[in-house]
């Protein structure tokens, strides 16, 4: 066996990476290429594609074809894109506001207790996401846990509702709930590395609690904050379950729109085009992250 190994170290390295490259290639790059190609084809009426080049899918995103074949600006899909970014952004901020103190708390616990806290954070992952999202219907929905007391007291009539469900609010709650562990974990990882004598040093040098937080803790946990924000924002942007179950179909996001195009509308090229736009957004955010990470490396050099 040993004798058969290639002699060049470069070649050996490439070969040992082959399984990983193969998995990424087959399960990621090829499907992405197929989607990219499909997004530039013509749609068949009942699903599938016609193999002729067309930019219709991308045009359709912004314009509607009027009866006389002229293009009219149509905001419908832009609203969905806007809603996706808005709700993903809100979910990200909510996760940050709630997740940071949690991560900070855990990082300040005695070493032997921290793993238990981290385990507790990951417990929701043990149950199916779909089931957990259904739980929110029971909480937010008609006659749900929140509404029930209003009915008992009589503020709400038997047919009235607070309208919590099937709204942007419900989607934002669902996204925040689902992705908050992804915010806590990376922030915890950076806070755990943080030397807390630096906080003492800041206090020693006339920093109030807030100044020590904003000038020392925040800058030093920035990599974790950025990683957490990306880990929440990216899956939120393309989320399907939460807008579908909690948004009730009328509040679409990019994820539900893609699903709708492939299944109900049977417009594969259009679905593929939306997926490509989603992918482009993700790549842009990852590039921002890579730049931030490089700055961090310089600081840790030594």
């Amino acid at each position: 066996m040993m004798a058969n190994l290639p002699s060049s170290p470069a070649l050996r390295r490439t070969l040992s990476l082959a399984p990983a490259l193969g998995v990424i290639g087959i399960f990621m790059l090829i499907p992405v290429c197929i989607i990219a190609v499909f997004s530039f084809l013509e749609a068949k009426s009942f699903g599938g594609v016609v193999w002729s080049f067309s930019t219709d899918a991308y045009v359709q995103l912004l314009y509607e074809r009027a009866l006389d074949d002229s293009l009219m600006l149509s905001p419908g899909y832009l609203i969905i894109i806007w809603r996706s970014f808005l709700l993903a952004g809100i979910a990200m901020l909510c996760c940050l506001v709630v997740g940071f103190p949690v991560a900070y708390f855990i990082s300040r616990q005695p070493l032997q207790h921290r793993n238990m806290w981290i385990l507790l954070i990951t417990i929701p992952f043990w149950t199916n996401q779909l089931v957990r999202t259904f739980a929110w219907i029971i909480i937010l929905g008609r006659n749900g846990i929140i509404e029930a007391p209003f009915h008992w007291v009589g503020i709400l009539g038997s047919d009235d509702t607070l309208g919590l469900m099937y709204s942007n609010f419900a989607i934002a709650v669902g996204l925040t709930y689902t992705f908050i562990p992804l915010m806590v974990l990376p922030i915890y990882a950076s806070l755990e590395k943080l030397d807390f004598t630096l906080v003492e040093a800041a206090a020693d040098l006339y920093s109030s609690k807030w100044e020590a937080f904003s000038k020392v803790i925040i800058p030093l946990s920035k990599p974790g904050i950025i990683a957490g924000c990306l880990l929440v924002f990216i899956p939120s942007l393309g989320a399907f379950i939460q807008p579908d179950l909690l948004g009730g179909g009328k509040n679409m996001m990019l994820g539900t729109l893609v699903q709708f195009q492939f299944s109900t509308a049977r417009n594969w090229p259009f679905g593929a085009a939306i997926a490509m736009i989603l992918l482009a957004a993700v790549v842009i955010f990852l590039m921002i992250y890579a730049r931030a990470a490089r700055g961090q490396q310089k600081m840790e050099l030594h």
């Binding site: 030397d195 630096l198 003492e200 206090a203 006339y206 600081m299 050099l301």
Partner: protein
Amino acid sequence: MSVAQAAALPIAERARAAVELENVEKTYGTGKSAVKALKGVSFDIADNEFFTLLGPSGCGKTTLLRALAGFESVTAGTIRLFGEDIVDVPTYKRSINTVFQHYSLFPHMSVAENVAYGLKRLKKSKSEIEATVADTLELVKMTDFAGRLPAQLSGGQQQRVALARALAPHPKVLLLDEPLSALDLKLRQSMRQELKQIQARTGITFIFVTHDQDEALSMSDRVAVMSAGYVQQVGTPNEIYEHPANRFVAGFVGDANFIDAQITSPVGAIVTCRTEGGAVLQADARNLLEGQRDVTLFLRPEKVKLAKAGSATVDGEITDIQYLGNSTMMHIDIGEAEPLVVTEPLGEVDQRLRQVGDRVGVILSPSALQILVE
């Protein structure tokens, strides 16, 4: 009570004290698991003084330093900074800065930003900050490194930046928590001298924490020796070394011989006593208590002079010789429980002539033999 006491002090006296500690106590934990880290610590530190807290690890010196900085609250007692009670003043409002043991420089800020940090929090003007940062960096000889990040500096350089950062706001008191312990020997020795010079130049009161007796003796105006949460002795390096208050101080600061003895004639400045081994010695009586008979005599190894056998106070046999370069250390059995430790400086006698098994005369002068307070 403390007010009445403070008022009793002459005003001039009070103004000169930078820090006054009064019965400071610190207890960690509660109930049975409670640990007393500081027990009734009381002493004053004068303005413009280089003061050292010396003691083994766990003696409470770091706890005391952290209480002064405000990182720890005290369980009881009063701490005054230039007459003002600061026990309830939060860290960031105390005009006290700290040089941390592991420097604790802000890794995301350049050297200049680190030094400017305290000044910015104090809302100094931009021009003043720039001027002070430049001056302070020059003081610690780090001007050329102003733009670097801490990670790009060596340990010694980080040490200088940490010092500059703490000095820049010109605090009333500067605390130094074993700042030299992470440096190598040569650097440590040159930094000692430099710290002393910087203290003299800035006129800031330095409180220096160390477990290294050489550091304490060589740099300090005064030293407080601590052990097990108590202050054992406060005094100048000379007082601490020459006239230790008790056996702990005598043993911790420098090497020491202890000889148990009984007083035979307790009269005058020099008393005569008989050791367990039967030798009759004369000792300095300044620490002798009224009516005390059983005493421990204390003697520094370098205070012992050797002579020909039969011509000195007692005779003994050399049982061990260690060559130390600038001196030679010998163990001499003089018939007591412990052999006498003697150091002889190089040059006076050719020590190559001394050999294990030789009989020598040991001169124990009454001024070198002191009675210890237990």
